[in-house]
């Protein structure tokens, strides 16, 4: 399905991955669940939920409004509408939406930070 799980994962709960390999949506079933460890994504993905770790995407990654990632998010293009505490690194574009929050670092070939977005950290473009 394009997801490789690392680290601990609470029993009796599951990660729901839907969509085709070109367009993946990763959501946590049930509120308040968390994933510990690193998520590797080989296709475009939308994250909804809390990840206590990093997200390493090979393609486009969207961190949805309700999503929180404590580690870094990597991808070809990364769009943040939720919260990323460990920084964003993209080989292409980084887009932080009006309600997005990013800490530590933003790195990419092009960056767009919308009014209302929160970003504190190092900015590296190009």
């Amino acid at each position: 399905m394009g997801i490789e799980r690392g680290g601990r994962f609470p029993q009796n709960h599951s990660v729901q991955a839907s969509g085709n390999p070109e367009n993946l949506e990763v959501a946590l079933k049930g509120g308040g669940l968390q994933i510990w460890g690193e998520i590797k994504l080989r296709a475009d993905a939308v994250l909804r939920g809390t990840v206590r770790g990093s997200v390493d995407g090979a393609e486009k990654v969207i961190v949805a409004k309700e999503a929180v990632v404590s580690g870094t998010v990597r991808g070809s293009d990364v769009r943040v509408e939720g919260e990323v505490a460990g920084g964003v690194t993209a080989s292409g574009r980084v887009w932080i939406g009006a309600q997005g929050k990013v800490r530590v670092r933003v790195s990419g070939k092009a960056v767009r930070i919308e009014p209302g977005a929160e970003f504190q950290g190092q900015l590296e473009v190009g």
């Binding site: 960056v111 190092q122 900015l123």
Partner: protein, 221 residues
């Protein structure tokens, strides 16, 4: 010209006068009298041409006053500062300070060596070493090094141009197609760095940021 019949207020005699007459002497009794218009009711009022005015804010004390739109200079009524209202181009060496209510252009061979220049719009093609304050827009069209900083409305750095400052810059918005190197860049509004733009600052702040592909940015937000 049309004639009208007028009545002498002294003897009641009538005589013909021009319709626009202001005063006359009665041909019957010799009494001098004025027309009704000249006495007040229909009196012609001398109208002064309306002078177009504009508001002017003193760069020194900030007080606002009205001056004629065509005026080239004025004096602040509150602090007495001389205000230069026209435009100025520096094409050689200029060592004094400047405060213009118009535009300032520092030409390709110009060198502003004063400690502070203030104008509504500033275009820099040559050299400047003092603080530049452009109320509306500071446009950099050459390689400019400022010992001090710069502030104002909008900062525009053309492709191929560069601005390097020794102190922070503060503007309402920024369009960087060239190069900006400074210790701190504060934008109270949006900042855009174009595809050829370079922004190297120890610290940068903005409300909205767009960095196009091809640009280079190294900073801390």
């Amino acid at each position: 010209m049309r004639k009208i019949e007028v009545v002498c207020p002294e003897c009641g005699g009538t005589q013909m006068e021009s319709e626009n007459f202001i005063s006359t002497v009665c041909r019957g009794c010799g009494h001098y009298f004025k027309s009704e218009r000249a006495q007040g009711t229909g009196r012609k009022k001398v109208r002064r041409a309306l002078v177009q005015k504009r508001e002017l804010t003193c760069a020194e004390c900030g007080s606002v006053q009205e001056v004629a739109a065509e005026a080239l200079s004025s004096t602040c009524l509150d602090c007495g500062r001389h205000l230069e209202l026209g435009h100025r181009e520096i094409s050689g060496e200029f060592l004094g300070n400047l405060s213009l209510e118009g535009d300032l252009k520092i030409g390709p061979k110009g060198n502003f060596g004063g400690s502070r220049a203030r104008a509504v719009r500033i275009v820099v093609q040559g050299r400047a070493s003092g603080f530049l304050e452009a109320a509306e827009c500071l446009r950099v069209e050459g390689k400019v090094k400022l010992r001090a900083g710069a502030s104002g409305g909008k900062l525009e750095i053309q492709a191929g141009a560069a601005l390097e400052t020794g102190e922070p810059v503060q503007f309402a918005s920024g369009e960087i197609e060239g190069e900006l190197r400074c210790p701190e860049a504060r934008f109270t509004g949006p900042l855009r760095v174009g595809p050829q733009g370079v922004l190297m600052a120890e610290k940068v702040s903005f409300t909205e940021l767009t960095v196009e592909e091809g640009a280079r940015v190294r900073s801390v937000v």
